[in-house]
Symmetry: C2
Subunit: 379 residues, 2 copies
């Protein structure tokens, strides 16, 4: 076969739903000498990653670690460990990732009770509690904290508080929230939370940080059916936390280096300042969109700071606009996700891109594309 | 919390069971601009990776792709797709990874028939065929091509040929064989093979190349029970191969760049020359060990070129020797894997480290450590 030439990808500004641009110091960390996964010096690095993840998740009493996989796998690991076949789970569905949660739980043989809300809304917590009242056998409620497909934020703190009177665990998809918006896993009574490295944390894609509460471990300890080995949180904890180690898998060394440096950056900035920076960047973007008469998909009060979903105006070809932004301006934004998505653009301002200046670059480029595309002038 | 300082890991020569040292051009590829996982320019890169993987696996008619995970996950994906609960699988067990195969299949509800051989031997193909005769309901045979825990090579070609008269699929763990020793997946009638990036391919750990035959797809098409979403080979093929794409997961972009460059290096060298280089390096190492009276764990004729398991001589503390090699010479070699392992050192000469010069460096350092450790002089 003809051997392809070395890679020469074009430069992009990554303002879609993720991956987002990586901090230069994170890329530099990936150039450090590679250790083996059973090297004592590497174990010391894992210990530091755990200590920092604990601070970023705000999970002092439970456990934290990172799966050597994507957020999709961490989503599945939650159900694989917290559900057994025939058990019931309540799932909030108001977008692509809520629907995926429900699908995954069903694949594992669970009985799934879907509680739905329209795209752009979030599932009312009262409706989730009603479902729990109607299905007292359910011991797990799963929601998406930050629904990347619609740009909405679920009021997770309030859900955790409301579940205090129930004997049910809470699982939360924090893929687009960790490091970008307020999240306090233990104080909010979240029992299993998962995220990824490539959104608000500012590392490349490839690992999935998770947080596991003591209540989740109790449920796992009562299991009667086995968990797939690669998704087995107890086996993963044996490698990450309960050293002397039993070998589980070969850790993705350079991805762990990247996560280490990304977490350092998050903690040096401080969680609250970082959340405030994401909020301010999103406010700048929303104000500029509003000036141009562009509407958000998210209902008022439900807007997700790191990811803004904008309705494509009537008469405009949204995919064509995205292609022109990419080809002419080197800027990636997202489109709708899945067959049921309305015509939207999804603009991510995550990690190092969560600034007013980047928001301005995206809007200026969007103006230019809309002008030259012959669409109705929007400004 | 106190924030740890930036990483500053020591330099190592990685001559254990993997990861092995990474080609400099592979590290350079990871510094190229990061694309999004749904970017057309990234899809073109995936197409090139598939074309190169097809050549490296030698799987012209089936499919090839790489899981965004470790070899452990790819092992599990094989059973998750090829077995349904209650089905029977014949597993060859002659080391840690054979035992893990059997454990994983059992976790998925399969009936597992273990065919065993002592450590250092390989499971006789005749014994596997006998098991298949005794269990005609079994439709899958799983073996480890390169057993990293013992440094042995299973005669996989002969097994594939012998299975021609049976209605059973063949699954092979090629974690330490792909790119290092002869392997011709399609000609040898392998139906599902999996590997990893961090051994003979010379990339960092983090992805798991797999090859799937048309017969494996036929079996998958007949499934009545669902596959966990993150392990679902059909869903993964939809992203990697059957574009226009349905989103499955966020690809680990920089790890894909690394794999792309590593495969380029393999094909530029040529598979046969690369296999010959691994064989020559192993021969140099074995000759030097033999001069020193050190014995291999592998039975004669079963030695695995990329990984040599050496028996620790009586009176020598094998772990102490490994620690001194690491601390005093910056050289990592492995010890025994798992509680049942005999006292061994595992020396890997994989990827760019598969040279006579590196073999010499390891042996010279081993000489120095054994002299200063007060052990009986071995030379």
């Amino acid at each position: 076969m003809p051997i392809p030439p070395p890679l020469d990808p074009p430069a992009r500004l990554l303002c879609g739903p993720g991956p987002s641009d990586v901090e230069p110091s994170v890329l530099a960390a990936m150039r450090r000498p590679m250790l083996g996964h059973l090297d004592g010096d590497f174990h010391a690095i894992l210990d530091e990653v755990v200590a920092m993840l604990r601070a970023v998740w705000r999970m002092p009493a439970g456990d934290v670690l990172a799966l050597p996989a994507t957020g999709t796998t961490a989503m599945e690991a939650g159900f694989a460990n917290l559900l057994e076949p025939g058990e019931t789970v309540i799932v909030g569905v108001a977008g692509f990732f809520g629907a995926r949660l429900a699908d995954m739980a069903e694949r594992q043989g669970a009985r799934v009770v879907r509680v739905r809300a329209p795209l752009g809304e979030t599932v009312p917590n009262a409706a989730l509690l009603d479902a729990l009242d109607a299905h007292p056998e359910a011991h797990l409620v799963a929601v998406v904290h930050a629904e990347t497909s619609t740009g909405t934020e679920h009021p997770l703190r309030e859900l955790g508080e409301a579940l205090a009177g129930y004997d049910a665990l809470l699982m939360a998809d924090c893929v687009t929230s960790l490091g970008g918006i307020p999240l306090d896993a233990e104080a909010w009574s979240v029992d299993y939370a998962y995220s990824c490295t490539q959104k608000c944390l500012g590392a490349p894609p490839g690992m999935a940080p998770v947080a596991i509460s003591p209540y989740a471990w109790e449920k796992i300890a009562r299991r009667r059916t086995p968990v797939p080995f690669s998704l087995d949180l107890r086996a993963l904890r044996a490698y990450w936390v309960d050293r002397p180690v039993t070998y589980h898998h070969t850790a993705p060394i350079l991805a762990v280096y990247a996560l280490h440096e990304a977490l350092r950056c998050v903690l040096e900035e401080g969680l609250e300042p970082r959340w405030a920076r994401h909020a301010a960047a999103a406010a700048t973007l929303r104000a500029a969109l509003d000036e141009r008469g562009l509407e958000l998909l998210a209902a008022p009060g439900r807007e997700l700071a790191p990811l803004t979903a904008v309705r494509v105006p009537a008469g405009v070809d949204g995919n064509d606009v995205r292609s022109r932004l990419l080809a002419g301006h080197g800027i990636e934004i997202g489109g709708g996700l899945g067959p049921d998505a309305p015509p939207i653009w999804r603009i991510g301002l995550m990690g190092r891109n969560a600034t007013g200046a980047i928001a301005g670059r995206v809007v200026t480029a969007l103006d230019a594309v809309l002008e030259t595309s012959g669409a109705v002038a929007l400004a």
